[in-house]
Amino acid sequence: MRVEKIGRDFDVSRPWLNRVLEREPRRSLCAVNEVSFSIRKGETLALVGESGCGKSTVARMIVGLHTPSRGRIVFDGADLADPQSAPLRRRMQMIFQDPYASLNPRWRVRAIVAEPIVAHGLVRDQARLAARVSELLAQVGLVAEDGDKFPHEFSGGQRQRISIARALSANPEFLVCDEPTSALDVSVQAQILNLMKDLQTRLGLTYLFISHNLAVVAHIATRVGVMYLGSLVEIADAKQLFERPRHPYTRMLIDAIPDLQMTGKARTPVAGEVPNPLAPPSGCAFHPRCPHADGRCRSERPELITQEPGSAVACQAIGRRVGLDHSSL
């Protein structure tokens, strides 16, 4: 199974109709710009980046919560924009960030977990449906009796387990996980990450994993894409990305991870902040914060160039910087 995608998005944020009349022009915000990647069956592609970089928008476009304004998303050979491909939607499900908001507070857990099965009419027999729900609950480490409770009776970690059970109930092959552990405490985060890895090996799932936490990504991903201001700046195998980050932004993110082993040692803080996406910088979006930026970075937008198989970087300075890199690392 492949998710081949050349998706792009174009979000229009406009002031109210009335204000349009008051000679204010329409303004558009380019949340995601010409992002392309593919995910192979059984792998975990992680998208990382800071808030506002467009990683969640990409996830939402893939599952159909937003329609891409440009480009297309191809799932198992079929274009998802094509109405014919609607049945494919069953095969991809999503796990949301906030386990307190993603479960309907008025439904019992049993009904929540069964919803995708009912919606797609997979099992019509009540007894078999109940058995399937119990099986799903057991699969995520809950007991069948939990099905009779309401979401508020569970802790954050248990709710995320319910969320996972719901996502799994329609037998999907592909799960989009939007920051599934960022609302959880560390000890619970470890439980959920382990569970997700277990399920992946047992059920042969493919994940798209959205996160801002690089340490979590390093743990779960096989490949990693780094996004900055709506564009993919680097994509590579996880091992390679963390050992030899090539884009200056990737390197900055990795340096910013607090290191528990080197206690008391300060990270090298990066100057500057993420620019306003309504007025992105010219050329390479990262150039105002980049230590290697030159005149060309300011004027030209770098393309994502494949350097080795399976990895690509969008940086013009990369070629002339190679020598410099090895000495500075």
Partner: protein, 307 residues
């Protein structure tokens, strides 16, 4: 047995019941509402007389004052009207009609308003703009004027001989239509909030249809404020009914509601037969006050911020 017991204990400790136990006003409101509603509901069985059974009426009993006055008669506790009907019984039967019209009108507004509000909030766009503009226009007229208008139109359109039979339905619809805006606004606002919550998005990803999401996901989560609104609205609807009946466009005098009773009694107020108007008036005030208090308490009890 123990299951029933634990269920009882659970509901006894439930937030709403708890706040009821701790609010004397609420207890009084519940009791007086129960008395009013019970009296109205069971009027045919517990009322001392049947005021609409013309065989048992005698004009000679007309204008009997209340039983505790000198000319009073213990058969008629609160006295009788011009046709010899027992005031207490007419009040009980009248409250029946008032309550029926009030509740039916509220249900009508509720279904209309919640439906439109849900669609406006969930679908958004032009449909939302259209529905809410209509609501704004209606809000710029007093509700009673809208009801009068609908009542007037119905009287012109419908055949004359049917007027008395269908008056009560026309009244219900008129009051109902005049009140939907509040529900639509409340539900639309709540829907706009709920629509962006992740559980609604999860349902979209799962592949539920918009109708299913609106009815099964959003609706249960926006009903809380609506139910509070409805309780308070019942009192308003009863007042509207009484006002219309008092103005003479409501239910016919052969089947009088509290409002009609007050209007009829009004004619005798200055000639000394005060009880014909005053007792239905008191009944109306007590009924509305207790329903209102109940609604206020319910609003506070269900408001997590005030807990």
């Amino acid at each position: 047995m123990s299951q029933v017991e634990s269920w009882l204990r659970q509901s006894w400790n439930h937030d709403v019941v708890w706040s009821l136990r701790h609010s004397p006003t609420a207890i009084i409101a519940v009791f007086s509402t129960l008395i009013c509603v019970g009296g109205a509901l069971f009027a045919p069985w517990i009322a001392p007389h049947n005021p609409f059974d013309s065989a048992s009426l005698s004009l000679s009993d007309g204008f009997t004052p209340p039983s505790w006055t000198q000319a009073g008669n213990t058969t008629y506790l609160l006295g009788t009207d011009d046709q010899g009907r027992d005031i207490l019984s007419t009040i009980m039967y009248g409250a029946r009609i008032s309550l029926a019209v009030g509740v039916a009108a509220v249900l009508f507004s509720l279904v209309l308003g919640v439906g439109l509000g849900l669609v406006a909030g969930y679908v958004g766009g032009r449909l939302d703009a259209f529905i809410m503009r209509v609501a704004d226009i209606q809000l710029s007229f007093p509700a009673i004027l809208i009801a009068l208008l609908i009542d007037g139109v119905a009287r012109v359109v419908l055949p004359r001989e049917a007027h008395d039979d269908i008056a009560i339905y026309v009244l219900t619809v008129a009051i109902g239509v005049s009140g939907w805006v509040q529900y639509a606004r409340t539900v639309r606002g709540a829907t706009l909030v709920e629509r962006h919550k992740e559980y609604v998005q999860a349902a979209r990803v799962i592949g539920r249809s918009s109708a299913a999401i609106m009815l099964r996901h959003v609706l249960p989560n926006v009903m809380g404020p609506v139910l509070v609104l409805a309780t308070i609205h019942i009192a308003t609807a009863i007042i509207a009914e009484a006002t219309l009946s008092y103005l003479g466009v409501g239910v016919p005098p052969t089947r009088p509601s509290l409002g009609t009773l007050i209007r009829v009694g009004n004619d005798f107020l200055l000639s000394g037969e005060w009880w014909i108007a005053v007792f239905p008036g008191i009944a109306l005030v007590v009924l509305i006050l207790s329903v209102n208090l109940l609604g206020d308490w319910l609003r506070d009890a269900l408001n997590p911020k005030l807990r």
